[in-house]
């Protein structure tokens, strides 16, 4: 009976992303599952690395969002890994870290003049999004996403990626409740 009750309430969660707070280096153990990585640029000079060890080539969307009220807050992200375009000198200068030998980079500069306002219904947050960037990561390899604020603006951000959903382990929701002020209020 309890199993059916749990299924009744957990099955709709298949429309959401797994929440996780950002760390200086955030290891994602199952990058094929969609995630939302939440963080806070407190000083504006931080740069975060998200490590995505893919076991096979993938195509997936990525976007970065900020609270609606932070109109000038435009954190950016770069995807770094094998099979991506070699960075230009201007791009290499722009990045917060050096691109490892043999890797390439794709940068989302979050510079659309008008950003779409997105209402995130699970936690009822109103956000501004960079827009969804469709990516093909052509190698079964580890990719990294670097997130930083080139204009040194401060404030919360949420980095979302992927479409595949899996909430079979109820513990994946623990970070949401442990970081309520980040994902909720």
């Amino acid at each position: 009976m309890m199993r059916w009750i749990l299924l009744l309430f957990l099955s709709p969660l298949a429309f959401a992303h797994r929440p996780q707070p950002v760390e200086e280096v955030t290891e994602i153990s199952a990058p094929e599952i969609s995630h939302v990585i939440g963080g806070d640029l407190v000083s504006g000079v931080e740069a975060f690395r998200i490590v995505l060890p893919f076991k096979e080539p993938v195509a997936l969307p990525m976007e970065i969002l900020v609270p609606w009220k932070l109109e000038s807050h435009r954190p950016v992200f770069a995807v770094v890994g094998p099979g991506l375009p070699t960075p230009t000198a201007e791009q290499a200068e722009f990045l917060p870290f050096a691109v490892p030998e043999g890797n390439g980079v794709i940068i989302e500069r979050n510079d659309h003049e008008e950003r779409e306002v997105y209402f995130e219904q699970v936690m009822r947050r109103t956000m501004r999004t960079s827009g969804s960037l469709a990516l093909h990561l052509p190698a079964a390899s580890t990719y990294e996403v670097w997130i930083w604020s080139p204009e040194f603006t401060v404030g919360e951000f949420w980095f979302g990626f992927g479409v595949e959903e899996d909430f079979s382990d109820p513990e994946v929701w623990d970070p949401l409740f442990e970081n309520w002020d980040l994902f909720g209020w």
């Binding site: 709709p12 609606w68 209402f119 219904q121 009822r124 109103t126 909720g184």
Partner: protein
């Protein structure tokens, strides 16, 4: 003809039967409400109808509210059921569930329609002959219409039976 008139006369003079729509079957609540998911503050007035017994043990709840927050305005409209336990006592716990349309108006975004289910755990305490103080927690789960989402409302307010309220307003 005479017998028909006699019947009508007897009906007219007979004591009125208690009706499910009598005023004493209705109560009115005025709770302040904070929604802890998305953060809004406001009020969520409710009308409670006790169709089976005026003691208010089983209630149909209809309500419409307004919540304002830093990122949105919500206009929740709810219809549900509430079972009040120990209806004759001073302190009455209750459990309820129903449907709620949160009706989101996010800042900088168009209107969003959704239909949620809600549950509630309530407690009311009679503080005078006519007034009860009420408190309730109400989690909401979206997904019936308009995509999945969460909600969690906390309400505190006052509740009066309709006849008492009408008496108060006519004084």
């Amino acid at each position: 003809m005479i017998s028909t008139l006699s019947l009508l006369a007897s009906l007219a003079t007979a004591p009125a039967e208690a009706s499910a729509l009598d005023a004493d079957r209705f109560s009115v609540g005025l709770p302040a409400e904070v929604n802890l998911v998305g953060l809004t503050f406001g009020a969520h007035p409710e009308v409670l109808w006790s169709p089976f017994s005026p003691d208010g043990s089983f209630q149909v709840r209809g309500s419409m509210g307004l919540g304002i927050g830093p990122e949105m305005v919500v206009v929740p409209v709810s219809l549900g059921l509430r079972q009040v336990l120990f209806p004759t006592r001073r302190v009455r716990p209750g459990l309820g569930m129903g449907l709620q349309m949160p009706n989101f108006f996010p800042s900088g975004h168009g209107f969003l329609f959704r239909v949620d289910t809600y549950m509630e755990a309530s407690l009311d305490v009679r503080v005078s002959d006519t007034i009860r103080v009420t408190a309730a927690m109400s989690p909401q789960f979206g997904g019936i219409v308009g995509g999945f989402g969460l909600g969690m409302s906390a309400r505190v307010g006052v509740q009066m039976d309709l006849p008492d309220l009408l008496t108060l307003t006519s004084d």
